[in-house]
């Protein structure tokens, strides 16, 4: 591929690609993101390739392995273009039928989405409730792009924003656009991106560095992974524009170790962009030089913090440092360094192409544009959701997410990962943006949204996050290292039935210390999950402490399993499957759990047939004594 030496050559290449592509030629686009791969997408791709070959349709039908279109719950997701027909839960065995249907321009009815409420079938994305209320500016193209092929991105207008910035705008003008668009950091804190850029540009020291934070450590969030995997060029383009505005010749992409596919795809993307002259020396003939290197993380949550991440890029242990001097002034190798999150960078080409006014028209007063959330946990439609800022939380959970599975009751939404908090039902009508979320005591964070239902224990949730943070605290500062540990000890005691009066107040006191005195945001925000659960679910804490009861039947030490002798049909299912061999009984012998052997794994509860419903969870009260051994013969037909 010859290098592109001007914006005009890029346009020519784009026209050439489009001319080569017949708009009517069918394309089977198969999601090969990490989510669908877990459902066996690789086998689906192979089956489709095989089938197209078998039917000798290689010339007539294209097959594309794409990134994640978002609806992970229904993977493997297959979309047929140009019509945009969506098939879900596609298996390798479906390949012959689908390929034949594509050939004959027909639709495979049984693989369509069926609306769980209306029972109606939906053919296209815009008819599906999960997609209807979304505004997918960033992830909408994922199903049209093979991330390993730069031509797909260019065909959709890719790199036109970079060309525009380099040929028609000064760095100051780019900066001004992003500033006026009020792009706020998507990684968590929501700091205005342009303000960081300006500081970095204006600080002494050369070279300056620009960095993509793809550490995405928040458990429960995976939008950065999907963007990097599915549309890496959009991130590279944004980064290059930012580098131009800041005056940086070198960029880094810091990707966490747990995302091998993202590392692979972004590596390929960098190589292809360099070959095309879209990265490297004098990009598009402009005289602007910019290189990008990938730095793999090695599994440390704290390394996502800006100063820690930069230390890691230098090859040292990724621990934070005090930030009397900000990283935008002194960052990597003490040079001015600008760090923004994956999603923030991906927004930049949109702003440059469409202008700040257009961008400002989306969202709320203080939060502009869209936000991608990973909607997960106890919700029907799990997946990636991109919505305009300011959408009611209720719409996300119930309209897009389709509500709670199995008719269970909604309890809370956890946002912001270990730095965030739990939002209760009474606040469901809030509008989701940076400022409203902060008012609840939570934060936007990187956009994880974990839905919890009646079966989730909020004390255990708080304990879970502190347990996570205890492992991830780097140990450099005392409040975080010791404070988290002590708070975890208290919470573990409460969950174990050893809670005491005054524990809640002690947790609150410790929280204040952590918040005020920790070195970095990891410790400073660590109390948030505890404080919000105390604020909104204090009754659960009190039940654990006073009644030794776990209302959600989660905390093992406070829960017992019991077989109701009046309901047990001696079917042997639980008995055979009990991994602890704690259940005695036999044919026509009512089953009894030996409480001293029971490991409380819940297998018996799961497996007891619903029509018997004999296994019961008990908390906060004594387990009824077992029937005497000679009284356990089941008399059938008694009921």
């Amino acid at each position: 591929m010859p290098r592109l030496n001007s914006p005009a050559e890029l346009e020519k290449l784009r026209e050439g690609i489009l001319a080569k592509r017949l708009p009517e030629k069918p394309c089977i686009s198969i999601c090969a993101g990490t989510g669908c791969l877990a459902f066996g997408a690789k086998r689906v791709v192979d089956a489709f390739k095989e089938e197209v070959k078998r039917q000798k349709l290689e010339e007539e039908i294209d097959i594309k392995e794409t990134g994640c279109p978002g609806f992970c719950e229904r993977g493997t997701v297959v979309t047929i273009y140009p019509e945009g027909i969506c098939y879900f839960r596609v298996q390798p065995e479906d390949a012959p039928e689908v390929v034949s249907a594509v050939k004959d321009r027909k639709i495979v009815d049984r693989l369509l989405y069926i609306d769980p409420v209306s029972g109606e079938k939906a053919i296209y994305e815009h008819e599906i409730s999960f997609y209807k209320d979304q505004k997918r500016l960033l992830i909408g193209n994922n199903s049209k792009i093979d991330p390993k092929n730069i031509e797909d991105y260019i065909a959709l207008g890719g790199y036109s924003a970079l060309a525009k910035a380099l040929s028609q705008m000064t760095p100051e003008q780019v900066m001004e656009q992003v500033d006026r668009a009020n792009l706020r950091g998507r990684g968590g804190a929501g700091f205005p991106a342009a303000r960081k850029w300006k500081t970095c540009r204006g600080s002494p020291g050369e070279p300056k560095y620009v960095i993509v934070n793809a550490d995405e450590g928040d458990p429960g969030a995976f939008m950065d992974r999907s963007l990097l995997e599915g549309n890496p060029h959009s991130v590279l383009e944004g980064l290059a524009i930012g580098a131009y505005a800041i005056g940086s010749p070198q960029g880094f992409i810091y990707v966490r170790a747990e995302y091998p596919l993202a590392v692979e795809n972004v590596g390929i993307a960098i190589k292809q962009a360099e070959e095309h002259g879209l990265l490297g020396e004098t990009i598009l003939g402009s005289g602007f030089n910019f290189k990008v290197r990938v730095h793999r993380g090695a599994g440390a949550f704290v390394s996502g913090e800006s100063s820690a991440l930069m230390t890691a890029i230098e090859g040292r242990v990724g621990e934070p440092r005090p930030k009397y001097i900000r990283t935008s002034i002194k960052g990597v190798w003490d040079k001015p360094s600008d760090l923004n999150n994956v999603e923030s960078w991906a927004n930049v080409p949109l702003i440059v192409n469409n202008g700040a006014d257009w961008y400002r028209s989306i969202g709320t007063e203080g939060s502009k544009g869209t936000k991608i959330f990973s909607l997960v946990g106890k919700v029907n439609n799990t997946g990636l959701v991109e919505v305009p800022m300011g959408i009611p939380l209720r719409d996300i959970v119930f309209r897009i997410g389709g509500g709670i599975p199995e008719g269970k009751k909604f309890k809370a939404v956890q946002t912001g990962g270990p730095s965030g908090g739990c939002i209760p039902e009474q606040l469901l009508d809030m509008l989701v943006d940076y400022d409203e979320l902060a008012k609840t005591g939570s934060i936007m964070g990187s956009g994880g949204m974990v839905v919890m239902d009646e079966d989730t224990c909020m004390v255990d949730t708080a304990r879970y996050f502190l347990d996570f943070l205890k492992d991830e605290s780097c140990g450099k500062c005392t409040p975080c290292r010791e404070g988290i540990k002590q708070m975890l000890n208290i919470l573990t005691d409460i969950c174990g039935g050893r809670g005491r009066d005054g524990d809640i107040e002690l947790l609150q006191e410790l929280s204040e210390v952590l918040r005020d005195t920790s070195l970095c945001a990891l410790g400073g925000t660590a109390p948030n999950p505890v404080l919000t659960t105390i604020q909104y679910f204090r009754d659960e804490y009190e039940a654990h402490i006073k009644e030794k009861k776990c209302p959600a039947y989660v905390c093992k030490e406070l829960v017992s399993y019991y077989i109701n002798p009046a309901k047990c049909q001696a079917c042997m299912i639980c008995l055979r499957n009990c991994p602890a061999e704690a259940i005695s009984g036999g044919k026509n012998q009512i089953h009894v759990i030996d409480q001293s052997k029971c490991t409380k794994c819940g297998t018996c509860f799961d497996l007891c047939p619903a029509r018997f419903d004999a296994v019961k969870k008990i908390s906060g009260e004594p387990v009824p004594p077992p029937l005497p051994e000679d009284g356990r013969v089941l008399v059938r037909g008694k009921e």
Partner: protein, 150 residues
């Protein structure tokens, strides 16, 4: 361990700054752990003190200073998996393999690790064994899946 292997990895990054972590990741991938000899050799080649390399290698979760089993079982306990019964999956894996998280079976077949999010949150609970991802795993299925590895 062959010293040449380490040298090859070191040479891959010749002339670049700040490569220690990348280098150790490559060693981990190649050898499935980071042996003492490798640390020594890297120290010699990069002229970086042993203590600094040890500090990096012991700080990061992806690097193991003990030999790992042939198969690495990562049970995800990210928040989404946590609320969807991930802990029970972990208990079951632990029980079937007879080891706790962070340990390796005596026959060196499996190493069990807890991971704090694989990014497959929509499919929780998830388990990753080597390069294979398993979504929506029921504790009762664990044994069968593990039996598929030898």
């Amino acid at each position: 361990m062959d010293q040449k292997e380490i040298d090859q990895i070191v040479e891959k990054y010749a002339g670049e700054e700040g490569v220690l972590i990348q280098l150790l990741l490559d060693v981990q991938k190649e050898l499935n752990w980071v042996p003492k000899e490798a640390i020594k050799r890297i120290s010699e080649r990069l002229q970086v003190p042993l203590s600094q390399i040890y500090r990096v290698a012991s700080f990061y979760k992806s690097m193991s200073l003990r030999p790992r089993g042939r198969h690495l079982v990562n049970v995800c306990l990210g928040t989404a998996c946590q609320v969807r019964d991930g802990p029970r999956v972990m208990d079951r894996v632990s029980q079937v393999l007879g080891i706790n998280p962070g340990e390796t079976t005596p026959d060196m077949k499996f190493t069990l690790e807890r991971v704090n999010c694989l990014g497959c949150c929509a499919l929780g609970p998830t388990v990753k064994i080597d390069e294979d991802y398993y979504g929506k795993i029921a504790p009762a299925k664990v044994e069968e899946i593990l039996e598929g590895y030898d």
